[in-house]
């Protein structure tokens, strides 16, 4: 859409929303939030940006096709799921590092899993929206 106001607003909203989405993602294990909502917010950030500035510009910001995010997310999630199997534990067994890390708290396979979810959600939503917008 051809409006200066929206365009410049979206420029500021994008980093803000992305930041917020990561925040929501990381706190998920302790407070409401998590990969889904985080991912959704991140994708909404990009959607707003693309609505204001056109798809091409958003694309150039994103640098790669959202499908890649999707793939990366699935891989991360799968890997965090099956990694316990390499040390003889069942699928999806939670593994944790010994000590908590500041800010994020405990780092464990569950966190990676959530990151995977986050990436998948971003990838999926953007793939869908971008594809539609392109073919309109």
């Amino acid at each position: 859409m051809n409006t200066v106001i929206f365009k410049s607003a979206s420029t500021y909203l994008l980093p803000l929303l992305l930041l917020f989405s990561v925040f929501i993602l990381l706190r998920g294990h302790y407070l409401p939030g998590g990969g889904f909502v985080g991912g959704l917010i991140a994708s909404i950030a990009f959607i707003i940006h693309s609505a204001a500035n056109g798809l091409e510009q958003t694309r150039s910001i994103l640098k790669f096709h959202p499908g890649v995010l999707l793939l990366a997310g699935l891989t991360v999630a799968l890997f965090s799921g099956i990694s316990p199997m390499f040390i003889g534990e069942p699928f999806m067994k939670g593994l944790w590092f010994e000590n908590p890390v500041p800010v994020i708290g405990m780092i464990g396979s569950a966190l990676f899993f959530d990151i995977g979810v986050y990436l998948v959600v971003v990838g999926v939503t953007l793939t869908i929206i971008f594809t539609i917008t392109e073919t309109i």
């Binding site: 051809n2 200066v4 106001i5 365009k7 410049s8 607003a9 994008l14 510009q57 150039s60």
Partner: protein
């Protein structure tokens, strides 16, 4: 260039701190790193902006804004709750001195946020702003009010 980027980065890191509400060094470092990452992700060549350069002006502006906000709100409230309408609405063209997108956007937003007025659109050559207003007793006076009130103050801060 590098400086402004650094500043934005810093700013985002602080927002991170505010968001998490956990003010310690580790969190700051993390926030900084995260902001760096995000900026890396989103940066395309666009004009950088200056934050906090005119802090005192900003604070003054905020108070002015709150004052306007409350004043206008009361006016509108009166109109809303009393049975008859006192308003004289219309769409007014306001010539712009603000040049950059940021300036225009901020101006338009503040106008919109003030009760009784609504920025409808900016012309494509960015020369005029179209504002819908509830109380336009005198068109020229109204335009004058906006230009001397919001626009001047805002531009003072930004330039």
């Amino acid at each position: 260039m590098i400086k402004t980027r650094f500043l934005s980065n810093l700013l985002l890191a602080f927002i991170w701190l505010a968001l998490t509400g956990n003010f310690n060094f580790g969190n700051f470092v993390f926030g900084f790193a995260l902001a760096f990452l995000i900026m890396w992700v989103i940066t395309v060549n666009r004009r950088e902006n200056k934050y906090f350069t005119r802090l005192p002006l900003s604070i003054g502006f905020i108070f002015y804004f709150i004052y306007e906000l409350i004043k206008a709100n009361l006016q509108v409230a009166y109109d809303v709750i009393t049975p008859s309408y006192y308003m004289k609405p219309g769409i007014i063209q306001i010539p712009l001195e603000a040049k950059t997108d940021l300036e225009i956007t901020l101006l338009a937003n503040f106008i919109s946020l003030t009760p009784g007025t609504l920025s409808l659109d900016v012309s494509d050559d960015k020369k005029v702003l179209y504002v819908h207003a509830m109380y336009v007793r005198d068109k020229d006076k109204f335009i004058e009010g906006i230009k001397n009130g919001f626009e001047r103050r805002l531009l003072n801060i930004l330039r």
